[in-house]
Amino acid sequence: MKTILKTIASSLLMLGLLASCAKPVMSERTVELRNKLTQLQNNPKLKGYAPEALREAEEAVKNVETPQESTRMTMHLDYVAHRKIEIAQAKAQAEYLEAERVALLKLPVIAGAKTTPPLQGLVAPKGEMGKGSVVTLGDLLFDTGKANLKPAANDDLNKLVQYLRSNPESKVLIQGHADSVGSEQSNVVLSQNRAGSVKAHLQGKGIEAERLMTRGEGESTPVADNNSAPGRQLNRRVEVTIVE
């Protein structure tokens, strides 16, 4: 009987100790996170952009401000909150830049102004071109919503033209792509038309039509998230692949 009572008493003591060890845990960076979020929310330049991402960041910070049962969960929520705030900042920045771009494009271009090819203009493969090389023409090389290739594309496509002239047996596949805005059918048409413009340009440089295959892929193969403006811009592209 005494043994049983001792055992029960010891067990209760152990349980009590364990219970006192399992105190709810809070992140030490709660205040830092809240300040970081507040700064972002009050940033005058970014106000009103990426509201959904900001809401997610707010929710994540609230989770951090709630004591958790384990240190691991506290660390996890801390990490999530940091990332969500940074994601919200990057998305807000991208949306702000998109709005800025719309305004800038309405301004007149200065004649003779030298510009570097934009990263979203043409992306050419580094090093030697060969079978499998892909040249990507970005959205900025086309008029908005149209298939006309801008003059800026002329210089950019020179390397490809030189390759095709030097390798008369080679063939390319020109694939137009679109973002997810608009109907699937209209996107297929636009992407096909843009691929056609690139083909016409290359034909104008003396490349035979039978070496230039075109295809409108529409919105079927995005390379970025269509839920963001910059993502949609990346998806609006033409890819020229050297297939032979």
Partner: protein, 112 residues
């Protein structure tokens, strides 16, 4: 003797539970892998290479946790990997937009 079949059944159930990977962990890893695949573009590496490294590390950690049957940890790490990859993509988007705008400004003679 009567208890032996019961022990066998109970033991099998316990082993079965330990050996199987909870669907939520598998789902979380699959989602992280999908996001990381989208993030594996040269343009994303240009702007957010550190975030991609962290995403890779977290995903590796998640897979190890699955091997050790630590389902909850696997799920947490997979989600952290996915968030890192999301951040990398968002930073690349912003970076690309910034470069594009600078070029437009140059073409229009706008001071930066």
């Amino acid at each position: 003797m009567k208890f032996i079949p019961a022990f066998f059944i109970a033991g099998t159930c316990v082993l079965g539970a330990c050996a199987s990977v909870p669907a939520s962990s598998t789902q979380a890893i699959a989602e992280a892998e999908a996001t990381l695949k989208v993030a594996q573009k040269p343009v994303v590496r240009t702007y957010a290479a550190p975030e991609l490294v962290v995403a890779d590390q977290r995903l590796d950690g998640s897979r190890q946790a699955v091997r050790k049957s630590e389902a909850q940890l696997a799920e947490l790490l997979a989600y952290e990997a996915e968030l890192s990859a999301d951040l990398a993509i968002a930073k690349a988007d912003a970076g690309e937009s910034n470069v594009a705008n600078l070029d437009i400004k140059r073409a229009r003679g706008i001071a930066q």
